[in-house]
Subunit: 289 residues, 4 copies
């Protein structure tokens, strides 16, 4: 590759899903070679449950998108792939929904600013004004609209969709947003909305899981980041963490302890999603870490 | 204490529970001083849920049991304590129930022989003959009786109670014993029978939790050691552990991975129980590690 | 205790260290009873290494400090105790030293404001101006003074001591402060200065531990919070954490991964110290969690 | 693939290392297609440190070894690969060296018999007779030879090499074998001998690491499985684990706690090696989990 240093290299991330059959890797790697690409990262998975094949590749190449797409499209058609090609590290356009709890929003904004999380956040939208200062500190626009009844809730959801359209939002993050989304909105955001549940799922669902955890005397508490579906707390799981607790902890102490797990679990899920590492296989996720 | 080196020291573990009120620690520590004891380990907990006070003490003293009881009994009566005084390190008389799975039984027997688990096991009682060789290797008596219908199941349970009486059994361990105990037997063994559940409770209950875990795509699987109650899988939790898994694991691989958590979780629970570190506070356990 | 509801209760934390001998617990608990106190939390440890006895008690009582001290002082003298009596939850006066890295300072300030960390911070003192905005956001005074040579370094250290005196500082936290303190200053701050080392000690010491960790191919990286002593990186360890990494991580990725461990490890150590849970036993720490 | 169901499928694991350059994946995947293979698992890594490319593939194919080698050899020559083709699940011929400690040997033999560890063990060779019964229980030949001086040590090492030759040993496991191997033997076994070090490396090296850990008051203790090299305790690290401890643990308790980490860390390293998941990149290992 004597010419490589002369041309600037582009860095692509390619993900695709198709029915599993022999020859896929050979076909794709041939296309990459012919677009002057070098594979720098590669992960694949064949799902015995659904018979589908999942792959994520990172490729460096002097070629531009047009050159790449020219070789990929015929293969994608032949193998009936669902695919996505993106620049490595392009910040994902992300809408953050919040209520009053600060820990998840603070962690997302701090890491975004520290360069550890490849997202851009055009808006934090909340049903309370509590987090206005934190958003301002990080220079992120903030908007609050009260949700007090069915009408204001519907208006809030319409506003979500407006923002999604206006900013071409790719991911909606429910950062301890304490409202249940309507089935219609869940449907509209399917596969691009992530929620943090303040319990190790399956487990204590619904309200006050920490109180339930205390009553049951569990020795570990946790948090679960999952895709939003209309089936509450049953969406595909992206990440889970737990932390050890003992009998001396009150229910309110469990809340404080659990918040650390919530924020790190949600941020991790957003990070993987922003790096195209999360693919859906029916009710399960494939995570190419 | 100029005389201390001349007399051999006894080592006692004292646990008690009573209604919480001021002065308990002073009263108990005074009794210990008057029985020439020195406190070497002490833990206590006041339960805000039940208003009860729990304490565990280890004491070294040249005094014998009679000397100790003479000072303890009046205080125990005054404070209406439930209490227990035992020699530190006395092996607990333990009956192990098993079926065909070897991992939990092997771990218990290996650690008992290695001196890490202070139990003596007069019998492994199983509804299958599979583990006869393992028991023989560790020099532990083994007995198998088929359970195929209601009559043989009742006979098996009668045999359990016979063994409990004959050997004055203090703890019954269900080491992946795959039969549900009758409510009557659960009642008889209340507070002295420990089961290992092959899931992180609350969570996937009943049969095949690993298959459920796989279908749900969880990122952590676990095990729970709990007291046996007639309310299946709902007894007070003693210990829980989890391990990280990913999408590439089949349900059968989850089984193998989970078995390690099962055996170490069960052994840990038995070890704490044998050391008088597990006390009951309603539906919760107090663990004085 | 019929009078208890009528008087407001004070909450005390009492820690003490003395030579181990029988009767200490009885003497102390007697003093507490006579000062109308109820023990709500109690931990003790007898060090086989040094023959010293350590205890931490939380007590609620309608009595004031004078009443408490009146009964404690005679016992403290009799047993030659080093002791400390404080209000539970009183914020510890804490000076934060920083350089350019934000993660530890941000975590300390965020948790202090969120009410999870019982400290008050009259000043963040830095040899760089980088963190001025973060301090301002959390409403904490900030001062920067360049350290470029021996003279400016000595001036910086004099300023540290001025601040310690002016605000009666109880704890100095080196939150990734990248200067080595002089032996004289270490001596002056002995037992009340905590540093975060960006490695799992003992291990990679000195500069660039993450580069060393990468070169060695370690599978876990970590962080260590320890007391500052003139013997660099050898002060008594307060807390350590590790996180799993694999071969695919570059040295610079290890830095980013390790920063999370650094900030949570340092914050944990500060939290325990502020709650009087950290006692020194020679070169080791006793942590009453 | 209409014929696939008619022929039995072979399962191959292919690993190779070569200089990194574009086209490798395409060339290999083309060879696999032409040998009628389907890739079921694939992992790769490009080392920025050494410029080398590492790959591990699992392939199912009706073709036999000859058919596979016919297509692989030309590519291996073109790219100057070091490569290895093996049947998935073939038990690795493994020699276990031991002294008196039982925990690592017991774990290896138990898991081998439970079908969790794909090794066959023609001999446990020890400088003590202590573990004869455990080996006998698992039906593994056992041989002990005292090592008391230079001559008996040299004889022991000669016996190791005899056994390696006689049984065509692929892996030598030092399961708490308490003798230092001579540089010559280390050289002979380079890349195929794994040791368990009873500490988290880098850290406490040499004798009595648990005593050092106690003296230093560390909050986590661990174990490290690494390749044997003549530079003691400095061989490439394969796996590490840690467990949390506190001030109350004596040095001898740390030993008991650490043994669990030792046995699970060593068994994990052996399992990965037996599955061709461990490759060497200079002083570091690549682990394709």
């Amino acid at each position: 590759m004597p010419d490589a240093p002369r041309e600037p290299l582009n860095h692509w991330v390619l993900t695709f899903v198709c029915a599993d059959r022999p020859g896929i890797v050979h076909a794709i790697s041939g296309a990459i070679v012919s677009a002057r690409g070098n594979i720098t990262e590669s992960q694949q998975f064949s799902s015995a449950d659904t018979g589908r094949f999942f792959m994520r590749l990172q490729v460096e190449s002097p070629g531009d998108r047009a050159e790449f797409e020219a070789v990929l499209v015929p293969i994608a058609e032949e193998y009936e792939m669902t695919w996505r090609l993106d620049d490595v590290g392009r910040p994902l356009r992300t809408l953050v929904l919040a209520s009053t709890a600060a820990h998840c929003v603070n962690d997302l904004l701090f890491r975004q600013r520290a360069g550890q999380l490849s997202v851009e956040i055009p808006l934090v939208l909340s049903n309370h004004g509590t987090l206005r200062d934190i958003a301002a500190f990080y220079g992120v626009p903030f908007e609050s609209r009260p949700v007090t009844d069915a009408a204001s809730k519907a208006a809030f959801e319409r506003r979500i969709l407006e923002v999604v359209d206006e900013f071409d939002i790719e991911l909606v993050v429910l950062a301890r947003y304490m409202q249940i989304l309507s089935p219609e909105l869940c449907e509209r955001l399917a596969g691009r909305a992530i929620n943090i549940h303040h319990s190790f799922l399956p487990g204590f669902k619904g309200a006050n899981p920490y109180r339930q955890a205390h009553a049951r005397g569990v020795k570990l508490i946790g948090a679960t980041a999952h895709f939003v579906t209309s089936d509450l707390d049953e969406g595909p799981i992206i990440e889970q963490n737990v932390v050890r607790v003992d009998h001396s902890r009150s229910a309110s102490e469990l809340v404080a302890i659990g918040q650390d797990e919530e924020s790190r679990t949600l941020t991790q899920a957003v990070k993987w999603f922003a790096e195209d590492r999360v693919l859906l296989d029916g009710a399960r996720t494939i995570i190419f870490k």
